[in-house]
Amino acid sequence: MTTADSFSSSVLLEIYRKALLIRVVDEGIRGLILSGNLRIAMHPPTGQEIVAAAMGLNLETTDYLVTIYRGLHDQLAKGIPITLVVAEYFAKATGACKGKGGPMHMTHPESGVMVTSGVVGSGMPIANGLAWASQIKGDNRVTVTSFGDGASNIGAFHEALNLAALWKLPIVFLCQNNRYGESTTYADATASSTVAERATAYGKNMVGVSVDGNDPESMWTAMRTAVVRARAGEGPTLLEANTFRLSGHYCGDSSPYIPKEEMEEAVANDPIKLTREAVIKSGAATEAALDEMKEAFEAELEEAMKFAHESPAPDLSEVETDVYGAA
């Protein structure tokens, strides 16, 4: 999926395209939940789309991704077909995981989405293993592991980054710093002023970079640099993408703990809105073309929802398949 060697207006458009798809699916699903038509727990990626889009564009399908419960943007950016994602949200037999994993455990090896984890920080050690396998096999793949700012305070983060640096693994630690972990602020949980500066603790093999994750050019360039570095065998990067969580920790969370001004500013700087403006300004696409793009995604989503809706629930026997019970 790698689109270009340097940033350009056509890359900008590609970023917007992926980001918009994410926003459309995110809004569609949140709409169902908030209207009572889908009763699931969901952690919306609203506001973090540019980060994911820039990640997805810089990876091949065969590259690996390990993401988290707040993973819809990552999964779509990496290329899981919308139908499989939506059907999984709908808990249907046709979902990516036959309805057994759900949003928090979405897996689709064909797209390189290897693990989605609900335990904060736990994906990083596993991602190392994927990267280690690539190193052993020399298959030239890169692994990206997404996590939040809060996750940078858990032990698994530290063990994983030390090992990755030590073994010079082809991996990118993509911290999506959205300023909150549930309702706790960054500053109340994290002693360092940036997550990226924690790279210092892992020596010269580990690079730490902190960028504006909502700015397409900065984000794409940083991601590209990190992926190229990993693929070249030069070692891992701790890439901190600064962003914001616009729809609360979970769908339905009105975020009363976020100061009004902070939220207002974030909404005013909604990256989908700003990126759309930038695309139009760059001349890469017209307003009309972007409207059409959105309509096409909405149609695609509607199709996926229809498919999911009409799909059968998993057979009850699934409870005892794909697991080696104690018998």
Binding site: R39, I40, A41, E88, A91, K92, C97, G99, K100, G101, G102, M104, H105, S117, G118, V119, V120, G121, G150, A151, N153, I154, G155, A156, G181, E182, S183, T184, D188, A189, T190, P256, Y257, A313, P314, L316, E318, V319, E320, V323, G325, A326, A327
Partner: protein, 331 residues
């Protein structure tokens, strides 16, 4: 219940914490998002407490379960009585070293020179659509670790009395809250209601069959007992309250009387707490048993996401009913 005021489980936990903090200045709370700045906790159990008792005594932590458990242990060695919240029971896995190798053992390994009076509050249970990493009932693990007590309440009043007991206890206690039934109500206890740990509660006397359980299944067992009474079958209900240490005497006395026993829990069947209860019953009441001890539990699998599968995974009230009928038939 008409005259008496009622509270739900969430209110019960909150009440116990509030009473304990008021009664003893060494009681301090720590956990993720528990302060009022953060909305008083994900499950709102601690809402209001940081405002009432101050940020020093109610401390929001980073997402660092090892650091949370360790801080609780260390503070307890220095004379505090910390109550740590581990948001979901599956996240206890992150802190197992602290809990098992330290909290449970320091008193023994120090030859009694120190003790670890901490309470770990956690929450779990399937049925809410949270899937494989947020729903496990792991009480049997902790019960297999000498030195730590394991407590699961089956009513709001018991929740108050048992949580207070955990906090007052000089050993580490694991207090397990059920996610699904958090708004279920029951009679409110009087002030400073404290129950003994390690004592089972025969909450309904009966003569035909003993149903032994703890936590959520009691909600269904109570109804079943009424139903069976209508059929002329007399069910004795034993709520063990404390999974460990287990009150063998009360259980065995009940089964010696009824000659039949059903053990029910939500955790997966194999190697669960029900195995220990069944094993002890047949050890101590062998000649009284008219039928094998039957276990009702969830299936030996991972908790699935799809609600239909989740219900299929879970033990069912009908399983308990069927077990009672089978045991009456001597099966």
């Amino acid at each position: 219940m008409s005259e008496q005021s009622t509270i739900n489980f969430t209110q019960a936990y909150a009440l116990a914490l509030d009473e304990a903090m008021a009664a003893d200045p060494t009681v301090v709370l720590l956990g993720e998002d528990i302060g009022d700045k953060e909305g008083g906790g994900v499950f709102k159990v601690t809402a209001g407490l940081s405002t009432k008792y101050g940020d020093v005594r109610v401390r929001t932590t980073p997402i660092s379960e090892q650091a949370i458990a360790g801080a609780a242990i260390g503070a307890s060695l220095a004379g505090m009585r910390p109550v740590a919240e581990i948001m979901f029971m599956n996240f206890m896995t992150v802190a197992m070293d602290q809990i098992v190798n330290h909290a449970a053992k320091l008193r023994f390994m120090s030859g009694g020179a120190t003790s670890v009076p901490i309470t770990l509050r956690t929450r779990s249970g399937a049925g809410s659509g949270n899937g494989g990493q947020h729903s496990d009932m792991l009480e049997a693990w902790f019960a297999h670790v000498p030195g730590i007590k394991v407590v699961i309440p089956s009513s709001p009043a018991d929740a108050v009395g048992l949580l207070r007991a955990c906090i007052e206890d000089d050993d580490p206690c694991l207090f397990i809250e059920d996610g699904l039934t958090r708004t279920v109500k029951g009679p409110a206890p009087g002030p400073n209601h404290i129950l003994p740990l390690g004592k089972a509660h025969v909450e309904r006397e009966g003569s035909d069959v003993s149903v032994i359980s703890y936590g959520r299944p009691l909600q269904e067992i109570r109804k079943l007992a009424d139903q069976f009474a209508g059929e002329g079958v007399s069910v004795e209900i034993v709520d063990i309250r404390t999974v460990s240490p287990l009150d063998t005497d009360t259980i065995v006395t009940s089964v010696c009387k009824t000659g039949r026993a059903i053990v029910a829990h939500e955790a997966v069947r194999s190697f669960g707490a029900g195995a220990e209860i069944a094993a002890r019953i047949q050890e101590h009441a062998f000649s009284s048993l008219k039928a094998p001890v039957k276990r009702v539990a969830s299936k030996d699998s991972t908790v699935p996401f799809a609600h239909s599968l989740e219900l299929e995974f879970l033990y069912k009230a009908s399983d308990i009913e069927a077990a009672v009928r089978q045991t009456l038939d001597g099966m």
